[in-house]
Amino acid sequence: MTLFYRLLPQPILSLVILALWLGLAGSVSVGQVLLGTVLGIVLPRLTRSFWPDPPRLARPGTAARLVLTVFFDIVVANGQVAKRVLGPLDRLHPRFVEVPLDLEDDFIATILGGIVTMTPGTVSVDIDRERRLLLVHALDVEDPEALIRTIKARYEAPLKEVFQC
């Protein structure tokens, strides 16, 4: 087990690299699998210094559900943003919203920021590390409190569960 972890400090990352390589190569021949495996072993080692404290994926099931939630939200919210972009602009209520973070880990807070940006209607502007705030710009928001509650319940809570922090 210790040998396994010395060879593959981040087994999931290694698997993702192998899968990505095979996907890009477009074939599952012996040569490509071998090449992907070598990359899967070498790349996590080379990039280790970028991951001072690699987060552990504790609940893959919850992670999968979160990914589905985000995709669903992207599709639904895209329609809403499309309507607002084409409609009368003076009826928009754009504003900044400060979302207090419960997340301790910088990497996971970054994931949350990415999710907020990818779901239409909100863009994460800044992560305030001292005050543990996520500064979000929303295109059209009537009730900032409701937006904060949605972000915290829909994305932050599952993220906390996924990484058990």
């Binding site: 990505l20 095979l22 996907g23 890009l24 477009g26 992207i74 599709v75 895209n78 943003v81 499309a82 972009v85 084409l86 602009l89 928009l92 754009p94 504003r95 900044f96 919203v97 400060e98 920021g113 990415g114 940006t117 990818m118 239409p120 209607g121 863009v123 994460s124 502007v125 800044d126 500064l135 710009h137 295109l139």
Partner: protein, 109 residues
Amino acid sequence: MSGEMISEAVTSLFVLVGGAFALLGSIGLARLPDFFTRLHGPTKATTLGVGSLVIGSMVHLSTQGNGLSLRELAITLFLFITAPVSAHLLSKVALRKLGLKKGGPPDAA
């Protein structure tokens, strides 16, 4: 209706939807009044616009008889990782440079 026709219809549908959302993103970029609202346009175009185009491409290539095409999934993954980073960098610079006037963060207003 032959299988080929169905796959072509599905491909066209995804390409059209993708093109429509890419166009909407650009319209948003042109119409919206200030930097931060404009930022919403392009991030949206990448998510559903490119996402839909990529699904169209996957359907098309996978029905050509060369097996399932997975390159598109890698494209989507890279886009979803890089798009928020560039949007984040842009908005961070804007926050410092433009300062905060109308509609700034609650504490600076």
